[in-house]
């Protein structure tokens, strides 16, 4: 008898998980409404009436939205395990791979509309000057969503309870949020923090999207960011597949938690490279200065006509 197809199983699970997420008001609030709220808040506080700042802020908002995949459906897997839901799936001919891949794919499907709305709001409502490089944005959103979903899956794999998952996620999320340039421009931090941030995956997403929305960076110019995140996805996915547990009572040994560090290896390598020979920090500074010096948006009272 033919065995079941992992790709078909992944797609079947993805469709159901998207449907379940759409029925969850909390999920919709955090994935759609909250990033838009942040967008308007950032524009009001930091926008300085400059269209150039809108593009810069869009980079941050897209980063926050994509990084949200870190929480999303990966955390749901822990909830499913604790509730005994995964046990029922274990009886069916569906492996850990499709369960995990469906988290990544469903997260991506849910991120795309949010990202699209954010870009359209910036362009049509907030009068962003250009579209940025949409190809580069598309690539980074795609690989970024996959990477942060996969990082979430690792945390889900090495934690034993929902509570433990929430605490660890919160710690990592706080670092990602404040030290990557996603919420506070990296250029305003002391140099040692800027250098340390080059070891964080979030920095590659944040700066990559920032370059793509402001500098019109081409896909080739964000190659380092894309590569770092791609490697991160592959390593994180394989580790979480190896550590995947179906049973609520199956506990992961403390030693296994060190596997999280293995997922960081690509970023440690890129961090070392960027600190020693890279130009990223200089680019970040140049970009920030250019935007800070950009003229303000003309207001009605200033219009000579």
């Amino acid at each position: 008898m033919a065995s079941s197809n992992p790709i078909t199983n992944t797609w079947t699970l993805t469709k159901v998980r998207v449907r379940l997420a759409m029925r969850n008001r909390t999920f919709l609030f955090f994935s759609l409404a909250m990033p838009l709220g942040f967008l308007f808040f950032f524009v009001m506080v930091f926008g300085k009436g400059s269209p150039a700042w809108i593009a810069y802020i869009l980079g941050s908002i897209l980063t926050l939205t994509v990084m949200g995949s870190f929480w999303g459906l990966s955390v749901q897997l822990v909830m499913f395990r604790e509730a005994g839901i995964l046990r029922r799936f274990r009886l069916a001919p569906v492996g850990a791979g499709p369960m995990l891949a469906s988290s990544i794919l469903a997260n991506y499907i849910l991120v795309v509309p949010s990202v699209t709305i954010e870009i359209l709001v910036c362009k049509w409502v907030l009068h962003m000057q250009s579209w940025g490089n949409l190809w580069a944005i598309f690539l980074l959103v795609t690989i970024g969503s996959a990477a942060f979903s996969a990082f979430g899956l690792i945390v889900a794999s090495v934690t034993n309870t929902m509570q433990e998952t929430q605490v660890i996620n919160q710690l990592i999320w706080t670092l990602f949020l404040f030290l990557s340039g996603a919420s506070v421009p990296l250029a305003v931090f002391p140099l040692w923090i800027q250098r340390a941030s080059l070891f964080m995956p979030a920095t590659y997403l944040a700066t990559g999207l920032e370059f793509a929305t402001t500098n019109l960076a081409s896909p080739a110019e964000i190659l380092t960011d894309f590569l770092a995140l791609t490697l991160g996805v592959l390593v994180a996915f394989e580790i979480s597949r190896q550590l995947f547990r179906w049973e609520p009572e199956a506990k992961v040994p403390g030693r296994a938690k060190l596997w999280v560090l293995v997922a960081m290896i690509p970023f440690i390598a890129f961090g070392v490279y960027e600190n020693v020979a890279g130009k990223r920090l200089a680019q970040i500074h140049d970009n920030f200065k250019a935007i800070d010096r950009a003229p303000s948006m003309p207001t009605k009272s200033a219009d000579p006509r």
Binding site: A2, S3, T12, V16, L20, R87, A92, P93, G95
Partner: protein, 306 residues
């Protein structure tokens, strides 16, 4: 003779210091409804979960449909269906979606609408899982166990915690499986369930099988005896109930005296006389024809619900 569809030999399973399964062996023929009957903690669920490929045995072998459940992966899972002791699904998953979701994992798929009809879930097809009653959830679990037209169906305590009406509905469904010549392995601690549904029963206690046979064969071991359960106003301190006319065996369980008698009328007359002479009173008296409960009591000295 064809190889048994389920073959278990010398199975062992421990959880830390607790030995849940201690050298269990049995075989189930194709088309048979086989029951593992025993109290909670007897090792029934551990055994069935090893057979479903969900647990690794510490020793012994298990084969289902000629395959090793633990190592045969997808090919094995295509052949079996199962209802776990407790099934959980996402709250916001609809009934029809749940059946379709699980059906999609299999190469041999039953018709979703036919399953909804068969399990009386048509009206609830668009209801969320968290809106279903306990009985409806269990019917859905049974429907999901049959989405792949399995060769072997495992039912782990399928009626535990359900009210009698729902339990009878589930019995009807299992009897339908029996008519369809499905091989069913059912675990239960309900005597009525084992007697009504099973072709053969293995009585399990403390991880071991203590008796195997058809309910009729097993009851023959208590043949000729009637179970008389009495409650007295004052306890029978000197064990004199065991010496009454016709009494073959007498045990006390939480204030109830369980007597097995080969001549029930004489025993009752002797009991009444004895109580009068002891200035004791009868609070209640019930008589039962031989059941698997009696077999269990005879073999273990305990009741199934202990």
């Amino acid at each position: 003779m064809a190889e048994p569809i389920i073959q278990v030999t010398g199975l062992y399973k421990s959880y830390g210091a607790v030995q849940a399964v201690r050298g269990l062996s049995f075989a189930v023929e194709e088309g048979e409804v086989f029951g593992l009957l025993g109290p909670n903690g007897a090792g029934k669920t551990s055994t069935v979960e090893i057979l479903e490929g969900m647990r690794t045995p510490d020793g012994g072998t298990a084969r289902v449909c000629g395959l090793d459940p633990e190592r045969s992966g997808s090919a094995f899972k295509q052949k079996i269906g199962a209802v776990l002791q407790s099934t959980a699904l996402p709250d916001k998953l609809k009934v029809k979606e749940a059946i379709e979701l699980f059906a999609n994992f299999y190469t041999n798929r039953a018709n979703t609408d036919a399953l909804l009809k068969r399990f009386q879930l048509e009206e609830k097809r668009d209801a969320f899982y968290n809106q279903l009653s306990g009985g409806q959830k269990q019917r859905l679990a049974l429907a999901m166990a049959l989405v792949n037209n399995p060769q072997v169906v495992f039912l782990d305590e399928p009626t535990a915690g359900l009210d009698p009406q729902v339990r009878r509905e589930i019995y009807d469904i299992i009897e339908e499986l029996k008519r369809d010549k499905k091989t069913v392995l059912i675990t239960t601690h309900y005597i009525e369930e084992a007697e009504r549904l099973c072709d053969r029963v293995a009585i399990v206690d403390q991880g071991r099988i203590i008796a195997t046979g058809s309910p009729r064969e097993l009851k023959h071991k208590s043949a000729g005896t009637t179970r008389i359960e009495v409650r007295l106003a004052k306890p029978d301190g000197n064990g004199s109930l065991a010496t009454l006319d016709g009494v073959a065996d007498c045990r006390e369980f939480e204030g109830t005296y369980v007597l097995h008698s080969s001549r029930a009328p004489q025993t009752i007359v002797a009991l009444v006389k004895h109580l009068e002479s002891e200035s004791n009173e009868l609070q209640s008296l019930e008589m039962f024809s031989p059941s698997l409960e009696d077999v269990f009591i005879e073999l273990t000295g305990r009741r199934l619900r202990d």
